[in-house]
Subunit: 389 residues, 2 copies
């Protein structure tokens, strides 16, 4: 008998009620029943995003929604600032380059957070990257909320203030952060916010979302980059009929209605508090074990931990998975083998966090790290006892 545990920053575990919704008989999407359900889902998602502006649902991975932001906001040779602090910052960079956008890169070493001041400089044209000339005008600033590959959360509020004061629009990849790290889309002047289904929303992957402010909408009206499947204007027209322009992943939308019901029953503020608490307990536990945190400004979605000297990072991941049935994430790209990542994202509560820490204690000990067994769990328990703030 083996039970599997999933502690990756996407996909995240599916609650039983959502799994049951996925198994329901499929319904047709051009029907009054589906339209009403889709309208409700869109409205509930706006509450989650904390926005009053249009929100579109794509059948795609998060990257599809990211591409939609590039092709709807930028023509070739337009200027953009990209905050690059890891693999998903790099994705913005690649997307912009692929579409001929002139990029000013604000990059920081992996594990660090971006200093908003560097974005201010870039907006004022006082910053150019070696390989690029400074574009005449910055149309958009691309950043991540939580950079999933390093576990860093950026100060979106501060960045929002800066960009708001300029002509540029702010685009936030909140795919892994939404639901774990606070994000007030409208209040923080985030013009475009992107999310995915397989993270804080507790669904399988397959849906991606994007909210668009009036400032961003205005920008789209003059963009010459051709687009079809990801054309925001087609989705906006379809919204008028409570619909999407192309056949949606109906089963996932039906299950999303169920997931949103669960999140609303808990209350959005409580959802964020729960993630903050699980993340804090995990960080304190890991530190008590003598391990080092990797992120300078850690996200509440995922905790990145430096692999201690003398231990093979990839072995931690494979042994946890193959022997114990516990799936965590390793490092990506140049961080492969150097960090491990424990998510506490989505359908997660205190005992999930404890299982992750216990499993880590067991395997680190086996791999020769001088572990004080139970010390991490004990520290986490202190933070997870009912009533502890």
């Amino acid at each position: 008998m083996r039970k599997d545990y999933l502690f990756t920053p996407g996909p995240t575990p599916i609650p039983p009620a959502v799994a049951a919704a996925l198994a329901r008989p499929i319904i047709h999407h051009r029907t009054p029943g589906y339209r009403a359900l889709f309208s409700q889902v869109t409205s509930d998602l706006k509450t989650v995003f904390q926005t009053k502006h249009p929100l579109f649902t794509f059948t795609a991975s998060g990257t599809g929604a990211m591409e939609s932001a590039v092709v709807n906001l930028l023509s070739p040779d337009d200027g953009a600032i990209v905050v690059n602090s890891g693999k998903f910052g790099e994705r913005w960079l690649k997307l912009c380059q692929r579409y001929g956008v002139q990029v000013v890169e604000c990059s920081v070493p992996y594990g660090q957070t971006v200093d908003p001041e560097t974005i201010r400089e870039a907006l004022h044209g006082n910053r150019s990257t070696p390989k690029h000339t400074t574009p005449k005008r910055i149309t958009a600033v691309f950043t991540t909320l939580c950079e999933t590959s390093t576990g860093v959360v950026h100060d979106i509020r501060a960045i929002g203030e800066l960009v708001h004061a300029s002509d540029a629009v702010l685009v936030v990849d909140a795919i892994s952060g939404l639901g774990a790290d606070e994000l007030k889309t409208d209040a923080w002047h985030c013009d475009v916010v992107i999310a995915g289904s397989q993270k804080g929303l507790m669904l399988p992957p397959g849906l991606a979302f994007v909210s668009v402010s009036p400032k961003a909408w205005k920008v789209t009206e003059h963009v010459r980059t051709p687009r079809y499947y990801f054309d925001w204007h087609a989705y906006q027209r379809a919204l008028a009929e409570e619909d999407t322009p192309f056949t949606p992943a109906i089963g996932l939308v039906v299950a999303l209605a169920e997931a949103l019901r669960l999140l609303q029953a808990e209350g959005w503020a409580h959802v964020l508090e729960r993630h903050a608490r699980l993340a804090k307990a995990t960080r304190e536990a890991v530190t008590a074990l003598g391990l080092q945190l990797f992120a300078e400004r850690p996200s509440n979605a995922v905790t990145a931990i430096c692999v201690p000297t003398g231990v093979e990072g990839k072995k931690i991941v494979s042994r946890l998975r193959d022997v114990y049935g516990v799936t965590i994430a390793g490092g990506q790209g140049e961080l492969d083998g150097k960090i491990i990542r424990l998510a506490h994202l989505g359908y997660m509560e205190r005992f999930d966090a404890l299982v992750a820490i216990a499993a880590l204690e067991m395997v680190l000990g086996e791999l020769g790290f001088p572990i004080a067994r139970g010390k991490g769990v004990a520290e986490a328990e202190r933070h997870l006892i009912e009533g502890h703030a």
Copy 2:
């Protein structure tokens, strides 16, 4: 107590084993277990497509995979022939136009099939459409297998012969046809074939597939249209690691493995025969009732029926749905109210076809059409009795 019946040409009903697979705990995609499963699915899909060439899986609606063909095969100002016989032919047209492709349209009135001879003329430059100049060279020919909006199936075998003898590549939208209408991808020289999950493959919508011949691959190497999420080269590189470049709709891929298992257990030849038989029974029943078929060359995926004079077409659809729990499709665009469409696609057997015909008899009678109740069912029974060829 109400049971719902779904007779639309996508989505189609989900078999219980596939529904159960959708409800399984989610697994991570960058694991040996998922990679092995995805490899098996890709290999089984190639058997279904009857191709030995690479096959890519997108998390998207079918339209996303259609767009992928346009952006991977054509640069702006390249020439293409589009077979336009309904809504999905029009989609090829719109996609090509959006990307600045010079289109020669081979259009036929709704309900008719394209004469392959017109494609031969267009390939030889002897055909131009009023609004367009004839492009210098035709790079690709776009067509549908089954034009879902009219129920017509095109003679892909004949078209394949013609295109094979030219420098152009043939792109076939087989989204609704695959599994119901015969399609031999390699033997019929179909360079690119597109399918979706929510039709003959008996899954919810959310996955789309594309197979690519060496001839088509060669074309992609010089294409300048920018692309990222739908870039075939990224999917080809990922296939080497039994993977996709972006997070896939994991739950749908897991369920697809189950659906393919069911189809293989039945045998692909039997799957096609079953659809042929259900379609024939439906056509004969409908004709026996005094109704007219709309498609000149009818597909085995969906039967389009002309709404008889004096009956309100939209009322047939809404009354079946709202009173009887039976969802069928009406006409789209200019066919709205003029035809109704009964699908016999995917997880469908004889009694499903009989339910659809009985429901139609009941509602047509209620709406004032002089129906001989039971006559359609009787005719269908004759074709569906065990042993009847």
